[in-house]
Structure formats: structure tokens, C-alpha cells
Symmetry: C2
Subunit: 339 residues, 2 copies
């Protein structure tokens, strides 16, 4: 599989491509399905979640299918009620309460494994199935804050007041179990989303986020990708997570970010998702510029620097995917002296 | 004045201290005043805005008084209606419309000069009056988006589609006039807030944000501070703005950020505002740690790495200010062999 080959650093005629939030609101067939089913129902019903996971692969020759689920999916299985609207909302927990959470009831998460099985059974060509989870710090942020927030003041002040080590270790252990179940069900690759780690300062990251992410991923048995958007101040620290590869957002040129992380690690990214909103011409051109910049360096997984934004034209996604494939042809044409 | 001395790089027994959003919701006297006056009324009535500006200086021995106004204050004077609730909201503009905006009607901004005059007349001790404006890119972001936003998709896609140079130059020219009026009214220092520049990639920043911020500040006649939070990827580029000093957020240790910007520029920051939420003990200790790290290096202006967060205990602000003053005494005691 092309994605696995890139994650093991093999030279390839073109990088693999998949896009964060490739399944979702920008697709009319997703909106049609969602007009008939609530977000939670869509996630928890294996047939629906598998269908949503596969929708973008029917349209585009993507190299990965990421399971349709949420960062907070495992939390209700730990006895904490979460409402998705579609962002998660819950009654905020204390740090002590998080430290005391039980392991997830894996029976209540069986649907995620079923989604993976159905996706694998229905893929009509080679593509990696990508399982995922939220990193412990990011899940802790939601649990303490009670949902999303611009500044996460409750979470950020709590870690100044209470040692979060026990709570994070608890979440890391639960996350590890959840990821293990996804691997057992057939996930080829695991991505760990640390969406809010970029709010931490470098020392907090190193002390809390890094070891808990490492614990969640350690020994998981398939290649792993760790992604902390807004983390330009953390790049040099990332290898401590022990992932196979690291995702980077659009803020730094890919080669600059790559060198800061360390050139030996594969890297995933980093097209600015807002260029897709500008239209297919702009999106295709920007994708080509990114490929020109990377110059075929082995270990690159083509992706956006953040999830597909709502309102993105389907044609822009098509243009990006075509650019990646087209660019490979151009390069091989050039090598063959045709160009 | 201590703030001016630090901005000219003079060695001092302690750094000057002021805090972004030091006037605001966390102060009971502010909330009391606001219970009687709407946000817009409080900003536009010189007596009220001067009173709010001075409230934190009555409580704490701060070295700066920042005018109570909003980044979007000059926009209605350019003929664009803005509602503050308290974040700005407006009917989104096109890039072409922004490029065509008139200069601000300075008569409609006269109240800001009056606030500065009243603050200076009523300061009972030496403190710098800090005028401010939003940087062109940040004002453009609000104008195109129609208000605040997590991802600013409209703004970010617009600058991929339309060259923003004319619009930014227009805003830079208006901002310059507005800042000039503040200097004329007696502002001792100017801060330019580039709140959303950190959403741009490094190349966009260098091409659009930097020259427009430079144009806004150029030749303003008093020391200037440029602040782009979330800008860890931009630090090396900041000197191109041509400000006297640069503010930095809490994400990197102050000395690391300082060295990336260049050690010859004074620096402002960078206590994590969330530590103040944790309580006065935590806040005081963190302030002391920051001072220990800086070790009296000339050119440091003590501040937070972002504005005071709502819900911050007044006692935490007191503890931070006391730590800065106490630390200076400790240092001079140590020098005198008393400690």
C-alpha cells in the first residue's frame, strides 16, 4: 500500500494522498445522508459510518480511508455522557474525576471495529484504512472544559494547579486500548490527533503531552502519525512522541518543518485548507507548488495542514488529488525525456 | 518613564510591567460601570473610557495605561457599521470594497484623543500612556469575515484569490492616521495588535502582514510594540516590521523567543495568562520564574503572553505585579549582600 510504503520511507513515483476530514460536510452525498440521520446515529451505526468513510474514496483515488468517528467517541464508553452538535459538549469533569475514569467498555466501542471491517470489505481497490483517536491532552482539554473553546481557560488553568500526570496516564491507557481494538479490526495506520496541544507551552508539552501521547501509541503494532496543529513551537520536540511520522500544519513550508522535526521521520502535510475554498484553480496550483517544493523526497504523505473546511468545493478536492497524480506523471515523463 | 527606558534598552532595577486587557471584565469596578453603560457607550464616552483605562492603575503600580478602545474602533469612522457584543460583528466586505474605503473621519475618532488627554491629566504618578490599533491584516480579517472566527475561512481564502495589497495599504494608511492622532493626543507608546497574523503561513506573513504593519507604524514618532500571538513560526521575520519591540505569547520560553527575533530588540511578554486563573500563589510563582529566566536582561517589558482572561482573580494580578516589584528588591538586596 502506497501509504504504508511512504511511512516506511520508500521512494515512490508520487506521495500517497488522503485529506483530514475528507469524509464530511463538503460532500453532497454526506449532507444527503445526514439529512436523514443525526451525527451520533451516523457515527454509531456501522453501515452508515462505513458508507460515510467510503464516500470520498468513491469520488477520488485517495490512498487512505479514515474511519468516520470523533475524537470523543471513546468517552461515553468510559461512563461520561457526551452530546455532539456536532462539536462535543459535556458536563465538565474535575482532574480527580478524570484520574478515576474506568477503562472504556469495549463492547460499547465495538461499532468502530465493525466500521473498519465493513470499509475493508467494501474497498474496491488498494487503500489504507486509518484508525484514529484523540491524544490524551486533547481529550483532557475537552473533559475539563466541557467542550470546545477558543482559549480553553479551565483546562489550561487546571494543569497549573493540579498535576495532570495520573489523569493523562489514565486517558493514555484508555486510548491505547481503543487504538488496539482498531488495529485488531484491521486498521493499517493509526493517527493520533492532538488538536489542542499547541495551546501548551513547550515545557508543558514536553512534560505532559509528549509522554502521554507516547504511552497511547507505544507498541500499537502498525505505523502511527501524530498531529499537533498550531505546534510550530513544538516541532523539535515531536520525535519524543515515538510515532512513525508527524503531521504538520500549513504555517511553515513543509521542508522547513521537516528539518526542524528531523529529516529521518516521514512527514504528513501540509496544504493550507483555505486555498481549497478559493477554488479548484488555486487549489491545484498550490498542490503543485507543494510537490515542487518537496521534490519527491521519500517519506512524504500528501495531506492538508488541517481538516477540509466546511464550504470547500468538491472540485477543489478533485483538483488537489489530480495535481498529485498528474505531478507524478510529469515527473516520470521528465525522467523519460518526454516532458 | 520606566516603560520608555526599557524600550530604549536601558538597564533597570526591574522591568516595567503592564498587562494586556488589564482594564476589563475581571475588575469588579469595571463590571459595575458596565452594568450601567453598554460596551460601545463606555468606549465612546471619554469620561467613561478614561475611568476604565485608569481603574487598574488605581489598584496596581503598573507602568503603563492602555487606552480603553477596540481594534475595530476606527472602522465605523471609515463608514462601516460595526456592532460590539463585545466582539465585533459587521456585514462582511469584499476585498474590492476594503480597497476603496475612505480615510477615517477623524472627527468621529476625536473621543480617543480625549481619553488619552483625560488619562494623562488624571494619572497621579508616572506611567506611560499606551495607544493602540489593530494591524492591517487583523482588521482585514474581521472586515472580510464579518467578525471573529476560529479559522477565518473567508479571509484566508480571499487572500488566495485576490491580491490584498491595495486593501492592506488602504488600511495601513488609515491605521497610521489613527495612530498619529493618538500620538498627537499624548500617547507615549503605541502597540500594534496583529491578533490573527498567526493564521497566515510564513510566506503570506512576509508578503502581506509585514509590509502593511510596517507602513502603519513607520515614522509614528514614539516607541512601538508589535504583537502577533500564535506566531512562533514568524519570530525570525518580525524585525522586518520595524517596530521598536516585539511582544511574544507564552508558547516559547522568553529567552528562546527573544533569540529567534534577535537579541537587539526589546521584547514584551510572556506569562501564560491561564496561570493567573489558577490563583495568586501559582501566578506569583510563575512570574518569579519568568524573571529568574530573564535575569535582568535589559529591554524586557513584563507582560502576559495574551490578554487577561475573563474570570481571572484580582488577587492573581496583584500577585504578579508584586512579584515583579519584589523580585527587583530581592535582586538589589542580593547585590547589596543583604539577601
Amino acid at each position: 500500500m502506497r501509504l504504508l510504503a511512504a511511512l516506511s520511507g520508500e521512494p515512490l513515483d508520487r506521495p500517497p494522498i488522503w485529506l483530514m476530514r475528507q469524509a464530511g460536510r463538503y460532500l453532497p452525498e454526506y449532507r444527503e445522508l445526514r439529512s436523514r440521520h443525526r451525527f451520533e446515529e451516523a457515527m454509531q451505526t456501522p453501515d452508515l459510518a462505513a458508507e460515510i468513510t467510503l464516500q470520498p474514496l468513491r469520488r477520488f483515488p485517495l490512498d487512505g480511508a479514515i474511519v468516520f468517528a470523533d475524537i470523543m467517541t471513546p468517552v461515553p464508553a468510559m461512563g461520561v455522557d457526551v452530546v455532539f452538535d456536532p462539536g462535543p459538549r459535556l458536563d465538565p469533569l474535575t482532574m480527580a474525576r478524570v484520574a478515576d475514569l474506568p477503562d472504556p467498555d469495549m463492547a460499547r466501542l465495538a461499532h468502530v471495529g465493525e466500521v473498519i471491517g465493513r470499509v475493508k470489505a467494501n474497498l474496491d481497490r488498494e487503500a489504507a484504512v486509518i484508525g484514529f483517536a484523540g491524544a490524551p491532552v486533547t481529550v483532557l482539554a475537552y473533559l475539563l472544559e466541557g467542550g470546545g473553546s477558543q482559549h480553553f481557560p479551565v483546562f489550561r488553568s487546571a494543569i497549573h494547579r493540579h498535576d495532570p500526570a495520573t489523569a493523562l496516564s489514565r486517558l493514555a491507557s484508555s486510548t491505547h486500548r481503543y487504538l488496539q481494538a482498531q488495529v485488531k479490526a484491521g486498521a493499517d495506520v493509526i493517527q493520533l490527533f492532538d488538536t489542542w496541544a499547541g495551546l501548551l507551552d513547550a515545557e508543558q508539552f514536553e512534560t505532559w503531552a509528549l509522554p502521554s501521547a507516547r504511552q497511547a501509541l507505544s507498541g500499537i503494532g502498525v505505523p502511527t502519525i501524530y498531529f499537533a496543529p498550531g505546534g510550530a513551537h513544538l516541532l523539535e520536540l515531536l520525535p519524543g512522541v515515538g510515532a512513525t511520522a508527524y503531521g504538520v500544519d500549513w504555517r511553515l513550508p513543509l521542508d522547513v518543518a521537516w528539518n526542524r522535526i528531523g529529516p529521518d521521520h516521514p512527514i504528513q502535510g501540509n496544504l493550507d485548507p483555505s486555498v481549497l475554498l478559493a477554488g479548484p484553480k488555486e487549489a491545484g496550483r498550490a498542490a503543485t507548488e507543494l510537490l515542487d517544493r518537496v521534490r519527491g523526497r521519500p517519506g512524504h504523505v500528501f495531506n492538508l495542514g488541517h481538516g477540509v473546511l466546511p464550504g470547500t468545493p468538491v472540485e477543489s478536492v478533485a483538483a488537489v488529488v489530480e495535481s498529485v497524480i498528474e505531478h507524478a506523471h510529469r515527473r516520470s515523463d521528465e525522467k523519460a525525456g518526454i516532458g
